[in-house]
């Protein structure tokens, strides 16, 4: 049963990923990204990380991809990009080599290290507790007790990101002319 779920979700993920890379139209690429994100959320649920699956769908597929689509529509870049040309000669071949090389390194690391990882696995602690929100309770205990400094720093990061974005996308009241040097 888990194998069936894994195969279906893996097909969604790989199909969406190839769609992001191959589609010329950015809107189509964003929709393929949503397919990939849903596949990842399914795999999160299969791995007993239900809270993360919900957060993934809400934050990633629901906010980040929508933001991408807003920017695509705002800037009018929905014209399809020409994928047949390379900006450097042989760029696509080199990119294939880099991708395959990276994949080879990662697969080697996984296959050779899989014995060490599997032998230590006994399942998520408290997984025998079958109450519905055991996962959230565990995650909350970890975030607010062990990683509370990271939590606070992350909230500062969010504030900084919001302030920075508002400043960066502020539309100036007058166009700044380069020769006058007058600040807006």
């Amino acid at each position: 049963m888990e194998l069936f779920v894994f195969v279906c979700a893996a097909l969604m993920i790989v199909g969406g990923a190839i769609g992001v890379v191959v589609r010329g139209n950015p809107v189509h690429a964003a929709l393929s990204l949503v397919l990939t994100l849903f596949g990842i959320a399914v795999l999160f649920v299969a791995q007993r990380a239900e809270f993360l699956a919900a957060v993934q769908v809400i934050v990633y597929a629901g906010a980040i991809v929508v933001l991408f689509l807003f920017v695509v529509m705002l800037l009018g870049v929905d014209r399809a990009e020409d994928l047949r040309t390379d900006s450097l000669t042989g760029q696509r071949g080199l990119a294939v080599i880099v991708g395959l090389g990276l994949l080879g390194v990662l697969v080697t690391a996984i296959v050779s290290g899989t014995d060490a990882v599997i032998s230590r696995g006994t399942g998520i602690e408290g997984a025998t507790n079958e109450s519905a929100d055991a996962n959230i309770v565990q995650l909350a205990r970890s975030v607010f007790a062990d990683y509370v400094v990271a939590f606070e720093v992350t909230s500062v990061l969010l504030v900084v990101a919001v302030v920075g974005t508002v400043l960066l996308s502020r539309r100036r009241p007058k166009e700044v002319r380069p020769e006058s040097g007058r600040p807006s």
Binding site: P26, A30, L43, I64, E81, L139, S142, V160
Partner: protein
Amino acid sequence: MWYLLLSAFLFAIGTFGVLVRRNPLVMFMCIELMLNAVNLTFVTLGRQLGSISGQTIVFFVLVVAAAEVVVGLSIIVAIMRRRAGVNADDLAELKG
């Protein structure tokens, strides 16, 4: 395990996409693919090693990725407002 191989494959696809695509928004989407591959790896290894820390790290990666997307998109908007129809080849210089 197969989950780790899938996330390695997803990471490689994302890398290929970043290297090949020239539209900055699609390059950003390929970076998000790579981040998702890493998230999947963390959750898988957290489950295999019996620790909740994997999911905690994914929680923080999600938040940081959201902040990064917001800032990155605002940078792209600020750049592309000045020069319409730009792609990554035109952004070769930091000036302007």
